[in-house]
């Protein structure tokens, strides 16, 4: 009994600094932003008037904000499945290789570790009209190119390519690690039963990889919900408002140009709620259920 309370106390004690830090740097700012999200608070004019839920109402009438949510949503609906498919394909291939696998792994680690900001610059140079590498090569064949990031039609797809470049390796590395840790027995059983390669993939590999795939999707999902660096550097939301992601637009509204922090806070809460609902469902399924199983 005494031993048990002692261990309880130690548990709280060891966690106290972490919890204090996260309360001060996480929860407190979030509460503060909840508070001033009910004010029309502008830094430039130093004015602050209570508007109740006015900011939230305006948010849903703000067509740029809604379209920025759409851009973030497009990222998630296009980039994420693309990265998952490409990463999984490459992982399956690499997993079968007898040699060369380690070189492939190292090469694919590189984009992951490049700061997203630098990736932005890098691709901005790549897409540069006429003088960028992409145009230089394509123009050699006498083929006309669109203005890439400067054309509303191609700007968002071009941005998504950057994310695919940077984050497919994330999917690849995680899924490869998962494949390499799979037990051999189910495969032997499937082989004896005469299953085809596709059947093995569908009924053996994918079910065993479910948790790992979910972990990979969770991390990519939350990263895409906050995507900011690359669109800021490459297009700055343009042309027009076509590539404003939610985070980028909220930043513009709250902390530059207009400095309407109250409105920005309200917008960020809408983004928060969407993110947290989705993420909590994921976390419950992946982390908590697994812990229960193991304990």
């Amino acid at each position: 009994m005494r031993e048990k309370t002692k261990s309880e106390l130690l548990g709280y004690l060891l966690n106290a600094p972490t919890i204090a830090m996260l309360l001060f740097m996480g929860i407190f700012p979030l509460l503060y932003s909840t508070y001033f999200s009910f004010f029309d608070y502008r830094i430039i004019t130093q004015s602050s008037t209570f508007v109740g839920v006015g900011n939230y109402v305006s948010a849903f009438q703000d067509s740029i904000f809604l379209s920025s949510l759409g851009v973030t949503g497009t990222y998630i609906l296009v980039a994420l499945p693309l990265e998952l498919t490409l990463g999984f394909t490459l992982a399956l291939i690499t997993n079968q290789m007898t040699k060369g696998a380690s070189i492939i792994r190292v090469v694919f680690m590189i984009p992951l570790m490049v700061a997203p900001l630098v990736a932005g610059y890098l691709w901005r140079f790549m897409y540069w009209p006429d003088m960028g590498l992409i145009d230089t090569i394509i123009h050699r064949f006498g083929i006309q190119t669109p203005a890439w990031v400067a054309d509303p039609q191609t700007a968002l797809p071009s941005l998504i390519v950057i994310d695919v470049w940077q984050s497919t390796p994330f999917m690849f590395l995680i899924l490869l690690a998962g494949l390499q840790a799979l037990p051999r027995d189910p495969y032997e059983a499937a082989m004896i039963d005469g299953a085809s390669r596709l059947q093995v993939l569908r009924y053996v590999t994918v079910p065993m990889m479910k948790t790992i795939i979910a972990v990979a999707i969770l991390f990519r999902f939350s990263d895409l919900m906050k995507i900011f660096d690359q669109p800021l550097i490459v297009t700055d939301g343009g042309p027009g408002f076509s590539t404003y992601t939610a985070s980028l637009y909220i930043y513009r509204v709250g902390l530059s140009e207009q400095f309407r922090v109250g409105y920005g806070a309200a917008l960020s809460w809408i983004l928060n709620i969407i993110t947290m609902v989705a993420v909590m469902i994921f976390i419950r399924r992946i982390f908590v259920s697994r812990e229960k199983r193991s304990s």
Partner: protein, 280 residues
């Protein structure tokens, strides 16, 4: 079923796909490096001739303290990242140890809460912090950034360290305590030495995340505590237009130390990226 011909076809196809993927990954990096080495900064004519005019003038310009603030930014980044890493890893390992080895009420709820903090879009913290830092006088200070980066990386550090502590069998500690060690002694003399690898991985990852972080650096620093990423965005305004060559040189310098770290981290990278959820 698997005829040799089909096998060869499959192998060839696999290699073609992999080589395409590698080209896609490496060409932009190579382009950055080449640009950084050519004085004009961009190459209109791609041919072997470009290697005749290769020089380091862009690097010299970026590293010259009289014309560019880049070295100052590097210094800031190193100081901020190093202190943040030390604090994050200490707090993270004490929490991580508690979650892995001690039973206390609410343990799994607290751990989930800590993880959930990682998923808040940073923009929702940046806006209130901008105001708070302004009134506390922490804007554009090293201390302010250390606080931010410590909090930002804590969830990661707690979860990753906890996964390393979980790997240790309970018996090790119990044996030490049977031999007369107190819990604290057992922790210091037996447990900690066994997780030095985990500590190194957590520290390296935290350092990289501080080094690459952008949105907080953009909002909360401008000059005195400007980090490398903040400095890089400043270069556009400073040169009154895009200097491709110099920006590429700065980009290469920003990426290079991280690449070294990647080679050191290789075996642990998946574990780190998933907060210890996937042990590879």
């Amino acid at each position: 079923m698997n005829t040799p011909k089909l096998r060869i076809f499959e192998k060839t196809l696999s290699w073609i796909i992999v080589i395409f993927a590698m080209i896609f990954v490496l060409v932009p990096i190579a382009w950055l490096v080449i640009q950084s080495l050519t004085p004009s900064g961009f190459i209109v004519n791609i041919s072997l001739k470009i290697f005749e005019q290769v020089n380091l003038s862009n690097y010299a310009a970026v590293l010259d303290p009289s014309t560019s603030g880049f070295l100052g930014n590097v210094q800031n980044s190193i100081i901020i990242a190093a202190i943040s890493t030390a604090v994050t890893v200490s707090l993270g390992s004490s929490s991580g140890y508690a979650f892995a080895k001690l039973r206390f009420r609410g343990s799994s709820d607290v751990k989930t809460w800590i993880l959930s903090m990682r998923f808040f879009p940073p923009i929702s913290i940046v806006i209130p912090l901008y105001l708070l830092w302004g009134s506390l006088g922490l804007t554009d200070t090293i201390a302010g950034m250390v606080l931010v980066y410590t909090a930002l990386n804590l969830p990661f550090s707690v979860w990753l360290m906890s996964s390393f502590f979980e790997d240790l069998p309970v018996e090790i500690e119990e044996a030490a305590m049977v031999d007369g060690c107190s819990r604290l002694q057992a922790f210091r003399r037996v447990v900690m030495p066994l997780v030095t690898g985990g500590l190194a991985v957590t520290a390296l990852f935290t350092f990289i995340m501080c080094w690459n972080e952008f949105i907080f650096a953009l909002a909360l620093t401008s000059d005195k505590a400007a980090t490398v990423t903040r400095g890089l965005t400043g270069m556009i305004g400073m040169y009154g237009g895009l200097r491709w060559g110099q920006m590429s040189a700065a980009g290469v310098l920003l990426v290079l130390p991280i690449l070294v770290a990647v080679f050191l981290l290789q075996r642990h990278i998946v574990r780190g990226m998933t907060f210890g959820a996937v042990k590879a």
